[in-house]
């Protein structure tokens, strides 16, 4: 194939920008129509610490002016968009001198790490098992074991996480129960830290993987059966090709394509599921940051983290769009 055309690239880029813009606008609107006033929340938080505050309405007025809340909506909206583009989300209200950017920079690597490892795991495991489930030469006992391994599929990841936590952290004490790395270990590129980080990530990743891979197994099985009925499979058999070669070059290679599309479409949902899992395991990623921010009505942090999550998800989908023509030669680069 002749690679990705400029037209295709521009179209996909347009979709990417549009997605991010719509999401950003929603993030802008929702807190403003929701009940509660961030300035009032800040003042009440101050009064909790300091007891009674004199001329609080003066303070509120001053802050409203300082945060620009008295400006017309389009000025506020324009300023908001400009800040998004420059990744300037202001200060966290709950932990004041900290900027939102600092929070994001601290949390983001953990989420990306956990999410990409678990996504890679469930996608590979799920599709491989699905392929084996449909393949004619798979030993019968494997075909019995695979469906049995999928019992967790109908369980919410939240519950699976709690169960894993209960058995493997509290009962058996094999894995740590909270955090992304052990206490007293300095983050950095040193072996104890890396080991600890991997060790801490196993249970959270597992709780995502065990509830997710079953869907991919079933989806892949269905696709494999469809491919099995194609004419080129009959020809592959007539050609006397080796069974294993036929399995990966003719069957999996074709059956995986819709699965990859599905993965791009589910990325957003995955991020949502991750929020809860991070919370259960007190894993210091973006999910946890969002959760804490919501509890504290910390609007700048909610906006900043949500925006970054949406941005990364859209970016991942965009990258997949760019890669897809390379794996499916039939995708027309000009059209669609």
């Amino acid at each position: 194939m002749k690679g990705i055309t400029l037209d295709y690239f521009i179209r996909r880029l347009g979709v990417f920008v549009l997605t991010v813009w719509i999401a950003a606008t929603l993030i802008y609107i929702i807190p403003r129509v929701a009940p509660g006033d961030p300035i009032a929340a800040m003042v009440s938080r101050m009064s909790q610490q300091a007891g009674y505050i004199e001329n609080s309405d003066k303070i509120i007025e001053g802050w409203r002016k300082r945060f620009g809340l008295d400006d017309p909506w389009y000025v506020q909206y324009g300023r908001y968009l400009r800040n998004l583009v420059t990744f300037d989300f202001g200060y966290s209200l709950a932990t004041f001198p900290t900027t939102v950017r600092e929070i994001v920079v601290r949390a983001m690597p953990w989420t990306i790490g956990l999410l990409s490892i678990s996504t890679a795991l469930f996608f590979v495991i799920g599709n491989l098992l699905g392929a084996l489930l449909a393949w004619k030469k798979t030993p019968a006992f494997v075909k019995v074991l695979i469906p049995a391994s999928m019992v967790f599929t109908s369980v919410p990841s939240l519950l699976a996480g709690l169960m894993l936590l209960y058995f493997f952290a509290f009962q058996l004490d094999w894995f740590p129960s909270l955090g992304a790395y052990g206490r007293g270990i300095t983050p950095g590129w040193n072996w104890p830290f890396i080991k600890s980080a991997i060790w801490h990530s196993i249970l959270p990743a597992a709780s995502i993987v065990v509830v997710t891979f079953g869907y991919w197994t079933l989806g892949m099985r269905g696709m494999m059966i469809t491919v099995e009925g194609e004419d080129y499979m009959t020809l592959a058999q007539a050609k006397g090709l080796r069974p294993f070669y036929t399995l990966y070059r003719y069957m999996i290679r074709n059956a995986i394509l819709p699965q990859i599309t599905a993965l791009a479409l589910t990325l957003g949902t995955l991020v949502g599921g991750q929020v809860l899992v991070e919370y259960i395991f007190s894993y210091q990623g973006m999910g946890n940051a969002i959760f804490t921010a919501i509890r504290n009505q910390d609007y700048p942090v909610i906006q900043g983290t949500s925006y970054i999550l949406i941005l990364t998800t859209a970016l991942a989908v965009f990258i997949m769009d760019m890669l897809y023509p390379l794996i499916d030669p039939r995708i027309s680069h000009e059209g669609s």
């Binding site: 050609k239 070059r249 003719y250 074709n254």
Partner: protein, 347 residues
């Protein structure tokens, strides 16, 4: 090699060596309501260098016969009985592994290429290369490239499609890729399954000529499956007419078209459309028997215009009524002097 493949009138096939022998092949498809008898005991020989046409209406078992020979019948279908011999070697007793080694080197398939027969995610040359590599081992890249381009040349494909994917080719090109693939390993028998169907007439002609040319070059024995009687007449040496899982008549093209003997062959040939006259379609649908319970006696009795009492009880065997013309019909009687008499005509 004969100068023209379809000019084989005087060739005596009975003296030629048979490459493929099929004896009493039976294939059933299991259904919840009982087995559908797709192939009900078929026997024929395929001689060296010969092209045998397998014709009949949809569902008569012609493709099932071919796929049975290639052992490509998918469940719920399965071979119930019979014997298939290739170069005096019985294929039925072979293990899956032994048979896999035989595939393509001895028995190749030319599928209906305009359909989905090529892997959409592999380049054309890779799909030819993989079968060569599988059966002959890895080869230097340049040598393989030369070999594949040579095959392209044989079937009249331009070298520029070497790196293309199937979806970038036209139907006729895909069909020729399938032909190139089929002859890649110089097999003894090639089965062409509806190779010229689903193509427009001009392309059909080009593909048919390619097939003939290739066949002539390699001297390979070929089974051609199709329902286009007109095209068959030009391409094959002998024709086997199938009806409901049985061969009802097998004869040289010339005899069959000049004087079809089985009533079914007669209506089949009469229904070839002609420009000179408007003919009504002789065969109507809907009066076939249930393929799960064929009636006793002749399978064609329900649609036969000459049906007799005998046809309802006794199954007519395939008899050689004229030289190289075998017919399964009670309509003809052979007298002691060897004369063939039409019972219905004399009555």
């Amino acid at each position: 090699m004969s100068s023209q493949a379809n000019e084989t009138t005087q060739k005596d096939w009975s003296k030629a060596k048979s490459v493929l022998k099929v004896r009493d092949l039976r294939i059933h498809y299991d259904t919840p309501k009982g087995a559908v008898i797709a192939v009900a005991g078929i026997s024929f020989n395929l001689y060296e260098g010969e092209t045998l046409g397998l014709v009949g209406e949809s569902g008569c078992g012609k493709s099932t016969t071919a796929y049975g020979i290639l052992q490509l019948i998918q469940p719920p279908g399965h071979i119930v009985g019979g014997e298939i011999q290739l170069d005096d070697r019985n294929l039925m007793g072979l293990s899956e592994r032994e048979f896999r080694r035989l595939r393509w080197t001895k028995l190749a398939l030319i599928p209906q290429g305009a359909m989905n027969s090529l892997n959409p995610t592999m380049k054309v040359h890779q799909q030819i290369a993989d079968v060569i590599t599988t059966h002959e081992g890895r080869q230097p890249k340049e040598k393989m490239r030369k070999r594949i381009l040579e095959l392209f040349k044989t079937v009249g494909l331009p070298a520029r499609i070497y790196d293309m994917y199937p979806h970038e080719l036209s139907g006729g090109m895909k069909q020729r890729v399938c032909i190139a693939m089929g002859i890649a390993l110089n097999p003894s028998v090639v089965i062409a399954d509806e190779s010229t169907s689903a193509l427009d007439v001009v392309v059909q002609r080009v593909v048919a000529q390619t097939l003939l040319k290739v066949k002539e070059m390699l001297g390979v024995a070929m089974i051609m499956i199709g329902h286009d009687m007109g095209l068959m007449a030009q391409m094959v040496d002998r024709i086997a007419v199938m009806y409901a899982g049985k061969i009802v008549e097998i004869a040289s093209v010339q005899s069959l078209f000049k004087e079809p003997m089985h009533p079914y062959s007669q209506v089949l040939i009469e229904s070839i459309p002609s420009l000179k006259e408007k003919k009504p379609l002789k065969i109507t649908e809907g009066i076939t028997h249930d393929p799960r319970n064929p009636p006793p006696g002749c399978i064609f009795q329900l649609r036969c215009p000459f049906v007799m009492e005998k046809c309802k009880t006794q199954e007519p065997p395939l008899r050689e009524l004229k030289p190289r013309q075998e017919v399964a019909c009670h309509l003809y009687e052979v007298s002691e002097t060897g004369e063939v008499k039409n019972v219905a005509a004399s009555a």
